[in-house]
């Protein structure tokens, strides 16, 4: 008899839930646009992601690999305003403007890949721990604790160092460090919801654990995960750029941290431009996602909501 009820129940409430969710989404969007700092952040994000997406239209891509800096070995260390090199060149003749624009694409790639991987890992580990509980929970959470006991930049630095300098290895290193928070968030949500009455109610109706998970746990975990993911879109680029600044990206990559590092070698001779512009981009990128992430947290966090 439980088999009979199962297919009937989801249709109606699910459509309803979707409706509420949609409504909630527009509500959130309106809130976001109302807060000036969040709005600035959102505008910055749109601008920079636009720059990343339309990079090939903004500046001619380097062949064969557009993620490599184009190097003009006859025009090293040219100051900004040089014809053809609007923001000047690096000590390797790399066009700083190219690095700024394609660096946005590199950063977008980096942050999307790392955030997706870490959300998925966090989701799996957190759900397993929360749902199964007991020994497995204990084990997984101890693992999380161990990962948290090494400061994240130092951990990522050590991993990237061992794997060798390359962009792919920076992705791996960041993924290894960033999943932990999601695992914690999701485990917390799972346990919280498991204790809730409506889950018990669902159990009584005869829903399977998987269905409960899909219907109740997952949708309810989305809010904190979205906030964290937004913040991490910025943090990943910040730490990724720090790693490549230290020297762990591959040679000649069009990436902001690499350019800052190259530019640093020339500052004593007055060549400020090669590090200033790309560094500014890292700052703006992280700032934008922090502003929006913060705004989202204020809007979505029920605690702050109730206090208003």
């Amino acid at each position: 008899m439980a088999v009979g009820t199962a297919p009937r129940t989801p249709a109606a409430p699910l459509a309803g839930a979707l409706g509420t969710r949609l409504r909630r989404f527009t509500e959130i969007a309106r809130e976001v646009l109302r807060n000036p700092t969040t709005l600035i952040g959102a505008a910055l994000i749109v601008g920079m992601i636009g720059m990343a997406i339309f990079a090939p239209l903004l500046i001619e891509p380097n062949t064969p690999n557009p993620y490599q800096m184009p190097r003009d070995w006859g025009a090293l260390n040219e100051p900004p305003g040089t014809p053809g090199h609007f923001l000047g060149t690096t000590q390797q003749g790399g066009d700083v403007l190219y690095g700024v624009i394609w660096g946005a694409r590199t950063s977008l790639r980096l942050s999307i890949i790392v955030v997706s991987i870490t959300v998925v890992i966090g989701l799996i580990v957190g759900s397993l721990a929360g749902f199964l509980g007991g020994k497995i929970d204990e084990l997984l959470m101890r693992l999380v604790d161990v990962f948290l006991s090494i400061p994240e930049l130092i951990f990522a630095l050590a991993i990237a160092a061992v794997l060798g300098p390359s962009f792919g290895n920076i992705i791996l290193a960041l993924a290894a460090v960033f999943w932990v928070k999601y695992a914690r968030i999701i485990r917390g949500q799972v346990i919280h919801i498991k204790q809730n009455e409506y889950v018990d109610a669902a159990r009584v109706i005869g829903d399977s654990d998987l269905r409960i998970y899909m219907k109740d746990v997952l949708p309810n975990s989305i809010t904190p995960v979205v906030v964290q993911a937004t913040l991490d879109m910025g943090n990943v680029v910040l730490i990724g750029a720090t790693l490549s600044f230290i020297g762990l990206a591959e040679a000649g990559l069009a990436e902001w941290g690499v350019l800052v590092s190259q530019g640093q070698a020339g500052i004593s001779a007055g060549r400020w431009w090669a590090s200033t512009f790309p560094g500014l981009m890292v700052f703006l990128w992280a700032l934008a996602f922090n502003l929006v992430g913060d705004g989202l947290r204020d809007i979505l966090d029920p605690r702050t909501e109730s206090k208003r």
Binding site: R142, I150, L163, G247, K307
Partner: protein
């Protein structure tokens, strides 16, 4: 009593975490192959490489290598640093002193700035100063330390020529004894005004660069807890008693706002610690962070392992200390539940 139980429970987990960390660190450094590379010169034959591997015990099976390494970490033999050309343990204290001096100075900058600005902004909620502190606190969290440091150098080192680089003037540094390893403190002990000025002068820019991000975190926490505690009942009660707003702020609101802020200060220690890597590279500060960066770039595994182990144990201890202190300061955490 309950605090004691809490501390005991936390203490018991500590060794497990440390062993776990050590396993991760060891496994990690062996993923990339043998750590022998740093001890080689580029013109060696494979036979000579084997000789070097034998010298450092790298021809042993991995579990044996782990036990040797872990045992060494406990007994004070931390391996040979290829980068520093000395046993890790021998170079460690001086570098630690330099790094801690920087971290403490940055901590002072961050706490002073953070609590000051947080109070200033929080007490003027939704007015211009509040908005400005918010901008500061958010931009601080987003600021790439490596870029901020370079900007400071471009302006104050290259442009104006005011700021020095490095930790000290070599002659002045040599002229005093160094019982604590913290240059500024040593200068006070040696009663040398010249050395003290030299120490502070060198500390200033790197401490600002390093403390900036932490100051932002503290500002934000201070502001929001102040705003929160300003609206609590007992503050209202104090106001009702006719206490001037300034006193209300100082005696009641700020005191309570400091409790969560203290936690944030403690937890931001890890943030400071990892920031030293970047700041030390940029300002040529002869500490652990710069050593670690060199080790990373040159593949010096012994140094990397010792540094990561030390940092995480320190990080764990500080976090524990903060949690315990927090539990002690805010009894509700333990007693209330």
């Amino acid at each position: 009593m309950q605090i004691k139980d809490y501390v005991l429970r936390r203490m018991m987990v500590l060794p497990i975490l440390i062993i776990g960390t050590s396993l991760i660190v060891f496994t990690l450094t062996r993923v990339g192959g043998s750590p022998v590379g740093i001890y080689l010169s580029h013109e060696m034959t494979p036979e000579e490489v084997a000789e070097i591997e034998q010298r450092y015990g790298l021809d042993q099976p991995l579990p044996v290598q782990y036990l040797t390494w872990a045992g060494g970490m406990l007994t004070g033999d931390w391996g040979w640093s290829g980068v520093a050309a000395a046993p890790v343990r021998q170079v460690f204290p001086d570098k630690l002193g330099a790094t801690m001096e920087l971290a403490v100075a940055a901590g002072i900058v961050a706490v002073a700035l953070g609590i000051g600005l947080g109070t200033y902004g929080g007490a003027r909620r939704d007015r211009l100063p509040d908005h400005l502190t918010r901008v500061f606190s958010i931009s601080g969290a987003a600021m790439p330390i490596f870029w901020f440091g370079i900007l400071l150098l471009i302006v104050f080192w290259v442009g104006l020529g005011w700021a020095p680089i490095g930790r000290s003037d070599a002659d002045i540094f040599q002229s005093i004894a160094h019982p604590t390893g913290l240059y500024a403190i040593d200068a006070i002990i040696a009663v040398s005004w010249t050395a003290f000025v030299d120490a502070i002068w060198h500390l200033l820019l790197p401490a600002i660069a390093l403390g900036f991000g932490t100051a932002a975190i503290i500002t934000r926490m201070m502001r929001s807890s102040l705003v929160e505690s300003m609206s609590e009942e007992y503050v209202d009660a104090a106001r009702a008693k006719g206490l001037p707003e300034k006193l209300v702020l100082r005696r009641h609101a700020r005191r309570n706002a400091l409790i969560p802020t203290v936690t944030v200060i403690g937890l931001s220690f890890g943030f400071l610690l990892q920031g030293t890597v970047v700041v030390e590279i940029i300002f040529r500060w002869p500490g652990l962070g710069r050593w670690m960066a060199d080790a990373v770039l040159r593949g010096d595994q012994a140094t990397i392992m010792a540094y990561v182990m030390f940092t995480s144990v320190l990080f764990l201890l500080v976090n524990l200390a903060v949690d315990v202190m927090y539990a002690y300061l805010d009894r509700r955490v333990v007693l209330g539940t």
